[in-house]
């Protein structure tokens, strides 16, 4: 066991534990805090993969902005403990089967097809932020401009949707 492998398993356990906690917590605010744990663990994994800029964006945008928005809405709507009806318990059985089938399908596909990417990864030997920015502003400049338009439309949509109707 080398040091990066131990760090990987610690972060992976943190991420999976946070995801399980998201499922089993009854109160939405606890689910939101569990999701923040998952996101910070994933940021650590990105650092381990040598993607420093993505790790920083993950913490600032996901852990910061998006989750603050979630927690804000949970508090604004005063969301309580969720209730389960008989029907939702009944729907759980096929749901569980379907989720396991999906995970098994993905696992089988990975087991069959990842011989080509077995190559050991070297952390931190690539992915300088300078190369990343050159790529975004040269090769992906039109998609980048489109995302700014997308954000503009999303903000307009959010304002129109959330504004109170005039009586």
């Amino acid at each position: 066991m080398t040091a990066p492998l131990i760090i990987f398993f610690v972060l992976a356990a943190l991420a999976v534990g946070g995801a399980l906690s998201l499922i089993f917590q009854k109160h939405p605010i606890h689910s939101a805090l569990s999701l923040i744990v998952v996101m910070v663990a994933l940021a650590g994994l990105y650092l381990l993969l040598g993607a420093e800029f993505v790790a920083a964006v993950q913490i600032i945008v996901y852990g910061g902005a998006i989750m603050v928005l979630f927690v804000f809405v949970i508090m604004l709507l005063n969301a309580g403990i969720e209730e389960h009806t008989n029907f939702s318990k009944l729907a759980g059985f096929p749901g569980l089967l379907l989720a396991f089938a999906l995970t098994g399908f993905i696992a089988a596909t990975i087991a069959r097809s990842t011989d080509t990417v077995q190559a050991a990864s070297q952390p931190g030997n690539m992915a300088s932020t300078r190369d990343l920015s050159t790529m975004i502003f040269k090769d992906f400049v039109y998609p980048f401009e489109l995302t700014s338009f997308l954000i503009l439309v999303a903000v307009l949509g959010a304002i129109v949707l959330a504004q109170r109707e005039k009586a």
Binding site: P4, L48, I66, F70, E83, T103, V117, A127, I151
Partner: protein, 100 residues
Amino acid sequence: MIPTNYYIVLSAILFGLGVLAFIFKRNIISIFMSIELMLNAVNLAFVAFSQAMHKLDGQVFVLFVIVVAAAEAAVGLAIIILTARNRQSLNVERVDLLKL
């Protein structure tokens, strides 16, 4: 060092847990959070493959996914606020009519 397989398997596990949460949760905000969990799982696979292939395209895609997730969160939470205001409930089973 760490084989890429480990990252992909972790990504698949997180995606499966996201699907489970999506099915089992009854609170509309929790369901929305499980969508974010699935997006995060896909991002991990993107970065892992980008590192394995020694190409930066995967990381650029991750940045685009994060931007789209932010836009989605803004619109989705506005819809949730609207639903909660009209139904006085956050339970998705109470949202079963197109018109009140």
